[in-house]
């Protein structure tokens, strides 16, 4: 009996190591993530807000920035005020806060909102006197006049949508930089927002499409991309095979209590009919017995 018990911890260990291994498979960092910048200027207010978020979510491992009082873990979390941390771009910092890093740092994508994550970046940057924030280009500043053209390319395997925004006023297609493109999916009563992304130098904005948006029976759904500001706007819609295939259930074809007699549950029909048969059988039996008694009386 003892021998058998020894194997269980091994199985548990194997299971744990597999699950931890699966958990630590974080999203790879891409160039566009690296170059991402905050959509607002870092101010004292945003740093204060960032400090509150940092104290709530980050301090327990990373300690107070600049004091090197981080937890003694393996790997060592490190001090965010250190030169190693400050060498990261804003985009990288934001990416690691969002998606986690290595085997220990968890993701905060679902715990802290996007603007709050940028506030944390602002707070960490406040410990670097040499830091100069990359120029923030607001979407409203982008010149969106002229003959705009918005084109969507869908990559089904990668679940990725690439939008290309160009201006062909002079007959030549020129990419539009730093314009915000909104991607949404058409639903019955409105458009479901999927995400926003800024175009790069090539006029390209990349969207990672969620894997769990339902489409129709063929998995098709209607994408709607929108770019614009007060002066001009452009939108384009396109069917794309990015959705889950959803086969709607026909409630009236189910066997259930609420359905018509023909569609009643089988067990109900069977038990009802057998109850009927039983009552009928008993009546018949009684009649037969009565007949027998009568015949016996005659004899």
């Amino acid at each position: 009996m003892r021998v058998k018990n020894i194997t269980t911890p091994f199985f548990l260990l194997a299971f744990l190591s597999i699950s931890v291994g699966l958990m630590s498979q974080v999203k790879p960092l891409t160039d566009s993530d690296k170059q991402k910048v905050a959509a607002f200027k870092f101010t004292n207010e945003s740093q204060t807000r960032g400090m509150q978020q940092y104290n709530n979510n980050c301090k327990s491992c990373h300690g107070d920035p600049g004091k090197k009082n981080y937890s003694n873990l393996d790997p060592i979390p490190g001090d965010p005020a250190s030169a190693e941390y400050q060498a990261l771009t804003d985009g990288e910092m934001f990416f690691y806060i969002t998606n986690g890093k290595g085997q220990l740092m968890p993701m905060f994508a679902n715990a802290i909102s996007e603007s709050q994550r940028w506030d944390i970046v602002a707070y960490i940057r406040s410990f670097n006197p040499n830091y100069i924030q990359a120029e923030v280009q607001l979407a409203s500043d982008v010149n969106l006049s002229g003959a705009l053209r918005l084109k969507l390319d869908v990559f089904k395997e990668e679940k990725r949508v690439v939008a290309l925004l160009t201006d062909s006023t002079d007959g030549v297609q020129k990419p539009i930089k730093s314009a915000t493109i909104k991607l949404s999916v058409k639903r019955q009563f409105g458009n479901l927002n999927i995400g926003e992304s800024q175009t790069n130098e090539l006029g390209i904005a990349i969207f990672d499409f969620p894997v769990d948006i339902p489409g129709n029976e063929e998995g098709l759904l209607e994408l709607i991309a929108f770019a614009g500001n007060e002066s001009k706007e452009i939108s384009v819609s396109q069917l794309a095979p990015l959705g889950l295939t959803v086969v709607p259930t026909k409630l009236l074809e189910q066997r259930s209590w609420f359905n018509i007699n023909k569609k009643a549950p089988l067990w109900l029909i069977i038990s009802y009919l057998s109850a009927l048969a039983a009552v009928g059988g008993i009546l018949l039996y009684v009649l037969l017995q009565l007949k027998k008694i009568k015949e016996m009386n005659k004899e």
């Binding site: 009563f189 009236l252 609420f258 359905n259």
Partner: protein
């Protein structure tokens, strides 16, 4: 011995006579019924209306007795009843009610009563005043029919007047309803009410063809209940109550698309995310009725609790 034999013979003869008598009676009865049917058939054959000239589908003019003309087109009532029973295939409507936002404006109530010609004391949707415990703040709760996926009201209806549709809505057909009120007794949510009196504006709408998806005109002696504005949904619009709310309480949408749209802000969000992020709950889920209406908890009850004039009573 002789005596007994005689007795036997006499009973046998008696029963034979009885049998012949019975046969004769049955035969006579059968003949009478048959003759009646035959003469009725003869009469139907002989019966004549006006001869009418008609153009057939292949272009010939023919003369037909008007008695034999049957209309191929269904009347509006039948069409509406048929499409009303089928529902909008492929849809699965759900409603989400955010109790944190309800301020008892009662615009949903008035919009609903207006649309369905309800008397002021009749409700398809009503904002109830709730207080869970004496020490917690009260809140307002709009309550409609829950459009259960396992509706007890439909199961008990003896005449198939109330029914479930493919898109999940539970409707009532007043042309079939006999007013037995079994469904009122079966419903755990008190979602149904009975037309005890002549409905509002009965004379004005007397000639309107009954629309099963709007339940208008209402009929005295029948049941009336929330329809999730099935007529609006057929047009692709949000229900009356949902679009009337000024406080963004209602979300409505298709569960197959996993998206619901707020009636006030017109903002579309993911249904699954909305429900899990806000700890949504249903009313009496333990009864196994599988309601289609979800409630988001009444958090942030710091608003002043106002009693509406209409609800004071």
């Amino acid at each position: 011995m002789d005596n007994t034999n005689d007795k036997l013979n006499s009973t046998k003869e008696e029963s034979r006579r009885k049998f012949l008598k019975n046969i004769g009676l049955v035969g006579l009865g059968g003949f009478a019924i048959g003759a009646a049917l035959f003469s009725a058939k003869k009469f139907e054959e002989v019966k004549k209306g006006k001869n009418i000239r008609l153009l057939t589908a292949d272009g010939n003019v023919v003369e037909v007795d008007s008695v034999h003309i049957k209309s191929v087109d269904k009347d509006l009532l039948t069409i509406q009843q048929e499409q009303g029973r089928e529902g909008i295939v492929g849809r699965s409507w759900v409603m989400v009610i955010d109790l944190a936002k309800c301020r008892n404006a009662r615009k949903c109530v008035s919009a609903c009563q207006e649309a369905h010609h309800l008397r002021p004391e009749q409700y398809h949707i009503n904002t109830l005043q709730m207080q869970d415990t004496p020490s917690t703040k009260p809140y307002h709760m709009p309550k409609t029919c829950q459009h259960c996926d396992n509706p007890p009201c439909v199961s008990v209806c003896p005449v198939d007047a109330t029914f479930k549709r493919n898109d999940g809505i539970v409707l009532i057909d007043n042309e079939r309803c006999i007013g037995c009120r079994f469904c009122i007794a079966a419903c755990p949510y008190s979602a149904r009410s009975f037309n005890w009196f002549e409905p509002k504006d009965a004379e004005t709408f007397a000639d309107v063809v009954y629309d099963v998806e709007l339940n208008v005109p209402q009929k005295k002696g029948t049941i009336t209940k929330c329809l999730l504005s099935a007529d609006k949904l057929r047009k692709g619009e949000l229900p009356y109550c949902v679009s009337a709310c000024p406080n963004g309480v209602f979300y409505f949408g298709d569960a197959n698309e996993d998206a619901v749209t707020n009636g006030t802000t017109k903002e579309t969000v993911r249904l699954s995310k909305l429900l899990t992020d806000n700890a949504a709950y249903q009313l009496y889920p333990e009864l196994g009725t599988k309601p289609r209406v979800f409630y988001l908890p009444p958090k942030n009850r710091l608003f002043p609790y106002t009693e509406n004039e209409e609800t004071k009573a």
